[in-house]
């Protein structure tokens, strides 16, 4: 029986490693300027965790195999070095490994979150509400009109609660259901929630950030490849959570200009 356990452990270890080695289910190709740091961190961690995983399961399997078939009269032996060696291994090997990962990972994290958006980034506002994302562009004046929550009305499509009649800045605001951005231009995403907690997740951009009701949060990113990508909600927000998504269209600058003009005309 113990030998079966050992063999099963080895099979599980190898079987689990196969999809990783064959890249069967992997993050999609990165289209952001900061994502490569995350991907590098992920790859490093995968290698280290993978080695530890396989080694641990293998060694456990071997020891189980050996331990279960001892002859009678067998005298117990100690692991060479006893617990002292293991304490050293845990502190120094594991400790160094985690410190290194922590240190390098901080650089990747800092790249996304510690740097402020550049002055000429494109501001886009996104509002998350049960169960859709809506986007607002400031228009030629570069300013967003104030939001009046009491004016939010899905029926007459006043999704942001803006008052075009009385707020000067709101007159040229462009509200869209899909997010369009030009490639290779930094976007400053201004996030707020209409009702409960939501989250903004674009796999290809390697960004994820919660919307916290009552807080104005922001992210910035630069997309490098044109295409149509899904923005999905990753924070449980109610019954429509599974269906809450929008599309991000990364376009060439000329395409973006014509798109934004089109959207302005539809307001």
């Amino acid at each position: 029986m113990a030998k079966f356990v050992a063999v099963t452990l080895i099979a599980i270890a190898i079987g689990s490693a196969i999809p990783i080695l064959l890249h069967i289910w992997m993050p999609p190709a990165d289209i952001s300027t900061h994502g490569h740091l995350i991907d590098a961190q992920m790859a490093d961690t995968m290698v280290e965790a993978g080695i530890c995983f396989i080694a641990a399961q293998l060694i456990l399997a071997v020891f189980i195999w050996l331990a279960a078939s001892r002859p009678s009269g067998y005298k117990i032996r100690n692991f060479p070095g006893g617990s002292f060696v293991l304490v050293l291994a845990a502190f120094f090997l594991v400790g160094t490994e985690v410190l290194a990962l922590g240190f390098f990972g901080t650089k990747a994290w800092a790249n996304i979150y510690f740097t402020p958006p550049s002055a000429d980034s494109l501001p886009v506002q996104v509002q998350a509400g049960q169960f859709a994302f809506y986007f607002r562009y400031p228009g030629p004046d570069g300013k967003f009109g104030p939001i009046h929550p009491e004016m939010i009305n899905e029926a007459n499509q006043n999704l942001f609660g803006i008052d075009v009649d009385h707020d000067q800045d709101a007159k040229d605001d462009i509200v869209t259901a899909e997010m369009g951005v030009p490639a290779n231009k930094e976007v400053h995403l201004l996030m707020h929630s209409k009702d409960v907690g939501h989250s903004f997740y674009v796999r290809e951009l390697r960004i994820q950030q919660d919307f916290v009701p009552g807080l104005d949060l922001s992210l910035h990113f630069t997309a490098t490849k044109t295409g149509r990508y899904e923005i999905v909600c990753t924070q449980l927000c109610g019954l429509g959570h599974y269906n809450m998504k929008a599309y991000l269209n990364v376009m060439s600058p000329t395409d973006y200009d014509s798109w934004i003009k089109q959207q302005a005309a539809l307001q």
């Binding site: 099963t8 961190q41 189980i64 067998y74 032996r77 990972g105 009305n153 009552g214 449980l236 019954l239």
Partner: protein, 596 residues
């Protein structure tokens, strides 16, 4: 150390059916009551998980019987998206609170801690009884949520505000959510009373010769876990109170201003902070998951030593590591909130202790594996599950390694990778600890042996099945599969559906295999071969009394302890071991006097 026999007289032997089996002050009965409650909860939780898995691969399927449970949640037997989330919330709540916090700690701990330290009962038997009945009432209040108004809440076991505060935010968020909060608050009180008992008992009621370092590892684990739980549940209770006040008394602890639901501005709340709920909840929530795993670590250590027929390479290192885990567990809660909107600088601060917890956890694992080197291995159902635990703990722990780093968490947060991680450590490893404990201790608790053949079949089905269910979760997470979705409609999720089908079938198969365990448990309880005092040739004090023990554990004569807890692998009159309370002088295996 004064003679503990003068502490006799907590209570006389119970008379009458109610005193003996229902409102019992006997820690053994209370332990079994907790175990039974946990068993009921895990069966319900498991059925809920089947319903969830079936819905995920067939959202429009008619599930027989479901419309009787809820005609609004599943009209005609077809589960609605909200009902999926409601079942998911109940699944998580039942499993985390009423299974993982209940069985390994309150169940086995209540039964065996006093016996392993040579005491007659817990320090406060009446508080002990109260703690069980509080837990039971909490359970009933929670289950009641299935049968009120819109049904149970849908905000997950994490109940983030404002979703969990605003009744209009979804079905189940009115009465269901209030019942949830009340249930958990009552549960906290039960746990606090339980922790009080465990800690006081361990400190004060050890028998003569039972120094702290001579306590078995399972006792140490229960003691450390109770210390963690005392402080953790003392924070969850305020969180639940604040939640209840926000819901029913019009306060605004967690709800900010200007929220709009269904085009209506929420005007009776303002200025609150949803992040406050997250901080309070996770300050409890992270220690909670160590409360879920540490008793299993203790139980598995205890069983492995018995199966290895030798003590671990270092008893003290395991104890110090468990203490380190307990201590560090209070410093890491922010790793659940890396992308929550809290300061990104805090994220860095939280990630380092999170990574550092790897060290004591690795140390314990290395000691388990290293102690197997050169040892023997008695293969029993209990030891198989204990070894399975080691494998699962490694797997689950390593996936945590990814999530501990904020930069990687940016991608993996909210995906199935997280779900895979915590199911591996809690939903599999901790459950394996419970199974191992059951197979090991059932002979002592019931006086009858369980069937080893059925136990081994149960192990194989569950071990292979659990890996088949939860390993794919990690791959799905790497592909970006978002969690808590009731259906997979996004474009990028479509290629992942075959994996989900595989998982569902594995889950149904593994769930069905648990019937083998149930049958084994029930049948052997009534018709199993009688067990003698020490069927596994163990050294600790639970094996120094009859199976099952008499009402005062040791027949009125408190044992005296002469040895460290794990004197195996020696030549003694009874075989390759000597019991803790045996006065026999032997060439001991490194009586633990040094640091290591």
């Amino acid at each position: 150390m004064h003679d503990v026999s003068s502490h006799v007289g907590h209570h006389a032997p119970p008379q009458g059916f109610f005193r003996k089996y229902v409102f019992s002050l006997d820690h053994k009965v209370i332990g079994k009551q907790y175990y039974g409650l946990g068993l009921l909860a895990v069966l319900i939780g498991m059925v809920l998980s089947w319903l969830m898995r079936i819905h995920l691969i067939a959202p429009n399927a008619t599930i027989p019987g479901l419309k009787w449970l809820s005609s609004t949640g599943a009209p005609g037997g077809v589960m609605t998206p909200e009902y999926y989330l409601q079942l998911m919330t109940m699944h998580g709540t039942l499993m985390v609170f009423f299974v993982l916090t209940t069985v390994p700690l309150a169940g086995f701990g209540n039964y065996f801690l006093p016996i392993q330290i040579g005491a007659e009962d817990m320090a406060f038997p009446r508080f002990n009884m109260m703690s069980f009945w509080a837990t039971f009432v909490g359970f009933c209040v929670l289950i009641a949520a299935f049968f009120v108004g819109d049904g149970p809440p849908l905000s997950g076991w994490t109940a983030y505000a404002p979703l969990s505060v605003l009744a209009g935010a979804g079905p189940g968020q009115a009465m269901g959510q209030t019942l949830w909060a009340v249930s958990i608050a009552i549960f906290c009180i039960g746990q606090l009373l339980g922790s009080l008992n465990f800690i006081t008992t361990t400190l004060d009621l050890r028998t003569k010769g039972m120094m702290l370092m001579r306590m078995p590892l399972s006792t140490w684990a229960w003691f450390i876990t109770s210390c963690i739980g005392l402080l953790a549940f003392a924070v969850l209770l305020p969180a639940c109170i604040l939640l209840i006040l926000d819901r029913v008394a019009g306060t605004s602890f967690f709800v900010p201003s200007h929220l709009v639901i269904s085009d209506q501005v929420i005007s009776n709340h303002s200025g609150g902070s949803p992040l406050l709920w997250q901080h309070l909840f996770w300050f409890f929530g992270h220690p909670e998951v160590y409360i879920a795993i540490l008793p299993a670590i203790g139980i598995v250590s205890h069983i492995l030593i018995n199966s290895y027929r030798r003590p671990l390479l270092s008893h003290r290192v395991v104890i110090y590591s468990m203490i380190a885990i307990g201590f560090l567990s209070y410093m890491v809660w922010g790793h659940h909130m890396f992308v929550s909107g809290m300061s990104p600088y805090s994220a860095v601060v939280f990630s380092f202790p999170t990574l550092a917890i790897t060290i004591p956890a690795t140390l314990i694992t290395l000691i388990w594996i290293g102690s197997l080197y050169g040892a023997k291995l008695e293969v029993t159902s209990a030891s198989l599950f204990a070894l399975g635990f080691v494998s699962m703990f490694v797997t689950g722990g390593l996936s945590g390694f990814f999530l501990a780093q904020p930069s990687i968490d940016v991608y993996l947060h909210g995906t199935y990778f997280v779900v895979g991680h915590f199911h591996m450590v809690m939903g599999v490893a901790a459950i394996f600890g419970m199974f191992a404990g059951t197979y090991f201790w059932a002979p002592k608790m019931f006086g009858r042996m369980m069937s080893e053949t059925l136990g081994k079949v149960h192990f194989w089905c569950t071990f292979v099945g659990a890996y088949c269910i939860f390993m794919p979760f990690h791959y799905l997470g790497l592909a970006g599969n978002v969690r808590r979705y009731s259906a997979f409609v996004d474009d990028y999720l479509q290629p992942l559906l075959p994996a989900h089908k595989f998982i569902t079938f594995a889950a149904l198969f593994t769930g069905a295999a648990q019937l083998i365990f149930l049958y084994n448990l029930v049948r052997s309880r009534f018709a199993g071969p009688p067990a003698d005092e020490n069927p596994w040739h163990g050294t600790s004090l639970e094996w120094a009394t009859s199976s099952p023990p008499p009402w005062d554990n040791f027949g009125g004569r408190a044992p005296v302890v002469y040895h460290d807890p794990y004197q195996y692998g020696i030549e003694a009159s009874s075989g390759d071991y000597v019991m803790q309370n045996s006065p026999e002088q032997i060439q001991t295996v490194r009586e633990d006097k040094s640091l290591l």
